[in-house]
Amino acid sequence: MSEAVATQLSGWGRTMPTVAQLVEANSSSQIADLITQSSSRGVLARGLGRSYGDAAQSGGATVIDMTTMTDFILNPDSMSVTADAGASIDSILREIVPRGFFVPVSAGTRIITVGGAIAADIHGKNHHRDGSFGAHVTEMVVIDGLGEQHTLTPKDSKFWATIGGMGLTGIITRATFTVIPIQSSYISVDTERAKTLDSVMSSMMERDHEYRYTVAWIDSVSSSGRGVITRGDHASIAQCNSEGIKDPESYDPKNIATAPGLVPRGLLNKLSVRAFNEGWYRKHPRSRSGELQRIGAFFHPLDGVQDWNRIYGPRGFLQYQFHVPDTASDLVGVALSKLREIGAPSFLTVLKRFGPGNQGPLSFPQSGWTLAADLPAGISDLGRTLDELDDRVSAVGGRLYLAKDSRQSPANFARTYPRLDEWRGIRDTMDPNHVFASDLSRRLEI
């Protein structure tokens, strides 16, 4: 058995690290042993550490590094992939895109594991028509809190408690999910610049259903709420040929830069973000259609800059991502103006429409809108302002995304996930002794 090493762990936002006993996963039986022999601090699986807050850290616990088990296989006949939980979406895409397939749901980063994608029930630019990742999982193998292995399918309530269950129902070791056929590694992208938040939102309401993928970037510094909507679908071979693309199936995204290790505090401030946002808005044409972009550029633009989370400096940052139903779409504008009032510089502010949610009691997406803004942790009044926003969001039936959360209160969480008790009932059958624990589960008293 590989040895446990005391290791400081934090989320992608680099706030509030804790120290855990980190062990590399090497087999299902080893994982089962770690579960049955765990200390009172518990056990947690960790993937590539891209959740922003404290979901993949657990002070004093045994944290199992799943990224040492990475096998996967493409089953072209059934159009599915069966993968170890530690396999990364990056490695899977490198294998399947040249063979004409794509993952059913892609988050804003491909540097995540299959297990993490299921545990957080990630969503992407196609949520309005395809739902979240969990909706495309057909089977998974989970080791429960007693060390027993189960094969779960969408017929089981345990399956859905694990979708979006943040790793607290068991340790996912393998999963099978469907993939979609594609003709090329390019996306045909339509771009629309809109001068106000209202025009961004009404355009998305009207036209999102015409596209597989859509998302809007919002200029959070401008009081207009102007933005750039990008919409697209996988490009056909014919489209690539007509644009003179030589090798339309090739796929090999590379790092273009690495963020420096030491960044002074306050590099991202109101002025630098205002300048960035102005440039980003102007960079896009008022309207353009049929532009061919590589998969990496369209889905994972930040993956090209390794360790980009360092640019927020030593205090780290957080991402505030909430959902509100269509009946409360005005909260998108309220949130943007509240963040502007305290001078919160966010250059990554993303607005997206969600389709209906799935059966997972803790799955985040629900019909309506979701807004995500990256915010440096050090700005004053941030805590109070976000608490006020939490109240507004929860009052209209909205909620925060657990994979991003690092600061909501336990009461706000319980209020906004009304199926929490149902989930706890299933969790108690899978993990009666509550072996699985994270800093997130302690903070939110899950």
Binding site: A6, Q8, G13, T15, M16, P17, T18, V19, A20, R41, G53, D54, S58, G59, G60, A61, G316, L318, A377, L382, G383, R384, D387, S406, R407, S409, P410, D439, R442, R443, E445
Partner: protein, 252 residues
């Protein structure tokens, strides 16, 4: 757990009637506090401290029995506090000023000061460190004093206990490196409290609320040593290097 903005959910105060500790809790964002344990000898003032925080709508405030001199009981008391749930911040706040002249005439009074301030803190501090290390996070706030920076004629018995405590806390911080646990040493100057109400005020005197603000800010920033007020750091650096004949001429 601390959240991303460094706001604690649970606090344990050893020396639950300490005005500095109570002011520190009031300075913390109240809506994130879920559990506040005030440990001390059962007394009306401990009950009053609980009532004072409850009146501020702070959730989960309760008192637990703790006697700094009764070191045999420290382990069980601290274990019980941590077994119930993680503790983000522990404030080691108990201590007595004593009376220097009485102590010189009756060494048993000096022993009493040393037992509470030093021996009691070493015992409690080591038990707390063990539990913080086990949970992989948390900060032990040690209320030291500038009186420990350089011994003065007028209060060297008290000063020596704080010097010992300060050295202990520095070493404990080193011992906890890479465990996720931290030690924050707070060195206040003269603070207007019950402990000092009979004494003439010194220069740079502060109130418990001022010290509380410094502690809360230091916790957020992850500092390991702070003076209160901050500029005392430079005053004490000067005093520590002052030649003995000059130092002794200063008003005590």
């Amino acid at each position: 757990m601390l959240d991303a903005l460094g706001e604690p959910q649970s606090v344990l105060v050893l020396g639950g009637t300490s005005e500095i500790a109570l002011a520190t809790i009031k300075e913390m964002p109240r809506h994130r506090l879920r559990r506040v344990l005030l440990a001390g000898r059962p007394s009306e003032s401990l009950d009053a401290a609980v009532a004072q925080l409850k009146a501020r709508n702070i959730a989960g405030v309760e008192s637990i029995e703790f006697d700094a001199k009764n070191t045999d009981t420290h382990g069980a008391i601290i274990d019980a506090a941590f077994d119930a749930s993680d503790i983000d911040v522990v404030i080691l706040a108990f201590g007595v000023l004593g009376d220097q002249m009485t102590a010189e005439e009756d060494p048993s009074h000096a022993v009493e000061i040393a037992t509470v301030n030093y021996t009691g803190s070493v015992s409690a501090g080591l038990h707390i460190a063990r539990r913080l290390k086990n949970q992989g996070h948390g900060t032990l706030v040690v209320l030291s004093s500038v009186a420990g920076d350089r011994a003065r004629r007028s209060n060297f018995v008290y000063g020596s206990t704080k010097a010992g405590l300060d050295a202990f806390a520095q070493g404990l911080d080193a011992a906890l490196e890479k465990t996720g646990a931290h030690v924050l040493i707070v060195r206040p100057g003269f603070v207007r409290t019950r402990m000092t109400s009979h004494l003439p005020e010194a220069p740079m005197t502060t109130n418990p609320e001022d010290v509380a603000k410094i502690i809360v800010s230091a916790l957020k920033k992850g500092k390991s040593t702070v003076y209160a007020p901050g500029p005392l750091r430079f005053v004490m650096a000067g005093l520590k290097t002052l030649p003995k004949p000059l130092f002794r001429k200063l008003p005590s």
